[in-house]
């Protein structure tokens, strides 16, 4: 996954190698983009719009990104810990990147099932 995601609006442009994008969280009409170097940047797009951009720009590689409910888009490569009972999701590269997030129990059940299925089928 060496493609680049470009988020452009008005006089600003954000350009991120897709494999360095850890997650994006919704913040009302804005979204917060978090990269592997732990930098966070707010962009003036709703999460659904960013989801469409990823799909459009990455094509099949977009399947590495998962929309979790209304609040999150995550990069599967960074999923480190899923705890359904505690509604905890930790994204990490096991180096310097570490983010603790929460999501609904139902969506974490689905995420875990999906990751289990990937392991079984690889």
């Amino acid at each position: 996954m060496n493609k680049v995601i470009v988020i452009s609006k008005g006089t600003e442009l954000l350009r991120i190698p897709a494999h360095r994008l850890v997650y994006i969280s919704a913040d009302g009409n804005y979204s917060e983009v978090v990269t592997q170097d732990n930098r966070k940047r707010i962009v003036s797009y709703q999460l659904g719009q960013i989801e469409d951009m990823i799909g459009d720009q990455l094509g099949d590689d977009g399947s590495n990104f998962i929309r979790l409910g209304r609040g999150l888009i995550i990069n599967l490569d960074f999923v480190y810990w899923v705890d359904v009972a505690k509604q905890a999701l930790i994204l990490s590269d096991c180096a310097g990147c570490y983010h603790e997030l929460t999501a609904s129990r139902e969506v974490l059940i689905k995420l875990k099932a999906y990751l289990d299925a990937i392991v079984r089928n690889d």
Partner: protein, 293 residues
């Protein structure tokens, strides 16, 4: 980028870059690994061309879509499925979820019979798997607010609140009505009845006057199930009721909430947990509870 506000619920999971029909199954993963995506791409392309040809040329823009505020998101309710597990054991199942940023805990009693009690229930009674305060009591004279029937005996007749709960022959009915015949039926059949603020009436939010924010609690019916919903954060009555509507709750009435309300549940491991810290407070003769035992 024509579909800026694609609907998604908080409990939904979607793989980006592929059609929403292909969600979360092991079959998805197999397809991903076997290159079926090429066929999918061809189908999507064909549908896209068809859509361009068929699309009305002068489709009006959404008049509600502004520069600063997007058009309201239209939420299409998903299929209503029962919550929780199937079990023969008697306990209260706790489910946590987030609906529209409202953190909810749902307490689903399994294999237990509901009833009302007057006075604080025996907290050492291990048969009680779920207990929550039901009707409020008047501040001035400590009488029960609204009509109340205890084991067939009417104890109060007020109509100040339109929401009601009737327990007749172990069946709980939650609804909204000024004159429910279930009050009389409860008296005739040795049942129970109390009134509270209505929150959801046949899937529609009911507005209430209370605008303050606090921990909220409700008795809900959804897909044939009865459960207690509690907000884990301080919420207005409106936001709490809206979250219940979005959860698919058909009818809901308020239960005495706030951080000082008393109650507990017993989980599958037999552990008892209080809804709120057991603060020192006075007890009242007419304090009443809905319990499952």
């Amino acid at each position: 980028m024509t579909d800026k506000n694609r609907d998604i619920r908080d409990d939904e999971f979607r793989v980006i870059g592929r059609s929403p029909q292909h969600e979360t199954s092991t079959e998805d993963v197999r397809r991903r690994n076997t290159g079926v995506s090429i066929i999918s791409a061809i189908i999507v392309l064909a549908i896209g061309i068809l859509a361009i040809v068929m699309w009305p040329k002068d489709a009006p823009e959404d008049p509600n879509d502004g520069v600063f505020e997007n058009a309201p998101e239209v939420v299409t309710p998903g299929a209503i499925v029962r919550l929780g597990v199937e079990t023969d054991a008697s306990f209260t199942e706790k489910l946590d979820t987030v609906i529209n940023d409202v953190h909810l805990s749902l307490y689903i009693p399994h294999n237990a019979k509901p009833e009302l009690t007057l006075g604080v229930p025996d907290r050492n009674d291990k048969n009680i798997i779920l207990a929550a305060q039901a009707a409020d009591i008047r501040r001035d004279n400590q009488k029960i607010l609204g009509a109340f029937v205890l084991k067939g005996e009417p104890l109060a007749w007020g109509l100040s609140k339109k929401g009601f709960c009737a327990i007749i022959e172990d069946k709980v009915t939650v609804g909204v009505s000024e004159n429910s015949p279930l009050f009389e039926e409860a008296t005739e059949k040795g049942g129970y009845f109390f009134r509270q603020y209505p929150l959801v009436d046949n899937g529609v939010l009911v507005e209430n006057e209370q605008k303050n924010k606090t921990m909220r609690k409700a008795l809900c019916s959804r897909a044939g199930q009865i459960f207690v919903a509690v907000s884990e954060t301080d919420e207005s009555m409106h936001d709490f009721a809206q979250a219940l509507v979005d959860l698919g709750v058909e009818n809901a009435i308020y239960l005495v909430g706030s951080h000082s309300s008393f109650g507990w549940y017993i989980d599958s491991a037999g552990e008892k947990t209080l809804f709120a810290p057991d603060v020192h407070r006075g007890t009242y003769r007419n304090e009443n509870y809905i319990v499952w035992r």
